[in-house]
Amino acid sequence: MTLRVLAAMSGGVDSAVAAARAAEAGHDVTGVHMALSSNPQSYRTGARGCCTLEDSRDARRAADAIGIPFYVWDLAERFHRDVVEDFVSEYAAGRTPNPCLRCNEKIKFTALLDRARALGFDAVCTGHYARLEDGALRRGVDDGKDQSYVLAVCTPEQLAHAMFPLGDTTKAGIRAEAERRGLQVADKPDSHDICFIADGDTRGFLAGRLGSAPGPIVDTDGNELGEHDGAYAYTVGQRKGLRIGRPASDGRPRYVLDISPVTNTVMVGPRESLDVHVLVGERPVWLSEPQAGPFGCRVQLRAHGEVYDCVAEPAGDRLRVRLATAARGVAPGQAAVLYEGDRVLASATIAETARIGA
């Protein structure tokens, strides 16, 4: 069936090949580059963090090569509100957000998809490494690139209008295909860091927005070990950059165990205190038949992170997950994504974590 497909084109190799594959499959494809960053201080949008003029041009040239119409849509306001501000306020609340996941949830598969559907498109196509088969979201075949984790927050309704043409191929295969298709972006480097923090300095970015908020760094007994400039700059599990003058009595390294925005306190302690056996996720999204009672599955707690055997159990509007083996450094705000084999069953945002007996 020929669908009217809107291909989100970042200017990178993945989304270019995804668009090309959708067009080759016979769909009526239109390329759209999302302008996600604007500088409201300048009278004309100039400096861009995520979507530079170069990215926009690369996307346009890829669309030319594929032979599809191409437009730039300004989604900067939505991106700023739903991703950047969310990112800052999550850190301010002592959590560790995943902005890529939020961007998929709020921008690509809400703002962009809603607009596309209203304008008569049937689906949004992206260059994510994941598979959609009969409504089931599955991992992409390239283990190293699999992006099902950052897509697992999308609802079945959103995924019903999504198209991920790259899930059956490895990244190396996509690069080779881009080369074969004559797409100039074939050897463009992968993007890694948070797109709206161009220099990669997350702490500096947050400090610029949240300001200095000094508070104590304490150990598990409440002894003050030092001072921080803002609890938001810390992530559970973090070891480097704690700036504690005094070494631990046992001489072992210390890790961030907990961040309390209410008391503006960062708690540090030994590595084993990071062990988490139980976690509670909120706002669960079911991508399979919702379960009523406990069920065994596997859980992933961060992008490209380890996968643990677990038993999950709905608890009201929350999801309780008991891990078979301890996970280390689980940060509230990240997503817990439940898998059965390579299929995503559900996702939820980690709200609380606990050690057994704690």
């Binding site: 302008a35 004309r44 730039v72 989604l75």
Partner: protein
Amino acid sequence: MVTYLDHAATTPMSPEAVDAMTAELRRLGNPSSLHTVGRRARRVVEESREIIADAYGARPSEVVFTSGGTEADNLAVKGIYWARRAADPSRTRVLAGSVEHHAVLDAVRWLGDHEGARVEWIPSDEYGRIRPEALREAIGPGGGADVALVTVMWANNEVGTVQPVAELAAVAREHDIPLHTDAVQAAGQLPVRFAASGAQALTLSGHKLGGPLGVGALLLAKPKPPLHLDPVPVLHGGGQERDVRSGTLDTPAIAGFAAAVQATLARRDVEARRLAGLRDLLVDAVRSAVPDAILNGDPVDRLPGNAHFSFPGCEGDALLMLLDARGIACSTGSACSAGVSQPSHVLLAMGADPARARGSLRFTLGHTSTEADVKALADAIGPVVERARRAGLT
């Protein structure tokens, strides 16, 4: 089959211009060379200069060829500012219309940001018109001794409103202030006469009137201190054009430009009436398909080929894409280099709220436009607006 309703962006070259230009592309000669080969090329340039001067009521020596409208605007705005300020350091005020094209707007802003200019934007009325009273008020009770220049376009590129340039120039002249006018949109459709307008500098562009891209001219009155001085150059080099503009003259483009001016002027008045008739049909068709569409710009005193609407509840980008998919080419206003359209400063200056500014489309007709083009738009615009309304304003 494309329905091209974007002639204000660029219009097809006239056959006369294509012939003149291609003939010249096959010939040799740098117009600045002193030998026979060079003199032949120089003759083409000078004949072209005379044609253009004659067409716009200027003297041949007042025609300075440039690479296009943007360069001519930059030369006028920056060059005259620098020259006037050099003659009297207190002259640092620049009075510019608030609905100018970016080539003027950004050049003026740059002077403000980097050259100590005190920039004042002359407010427009709800139709995008800069009234002489507004200029008088901007000059202020203290007189214009500290004003370097006034710049107000002849006709607006977005909403098509025609400015009372001669009246504005008369006000400026009372205070011995030179006036520059960007006549890029007007020069193909309206009787533009340089000397009679009272302007000291006037911008022309080739490709907006059937000539090639990449060539334009600044009509520049002979210096008459203190009112008017030759601008300080923006491009330095061989001094080919009156020492005001350097760069090897582009003989083929200049020949094409002059041929287009000649062809366009020969049929201008008849063509203007024809376009105004088509434009009125287009306006009626849009209004009957979309009763709440707002026609922007002066309802009467506007470019004959221009119709500019706001469609409440729609995003201009969405309208453009949906029309494009149906083979209809139009514009949301001025596009920036990333391809993202910003709310038009012209509509904002006219008092439109940002939503109305973002939901606007410009349709512009030109010498190849026919009733079939209007019909195609008439058939498409209703369903397209309905569809875009569903997507709303994001």
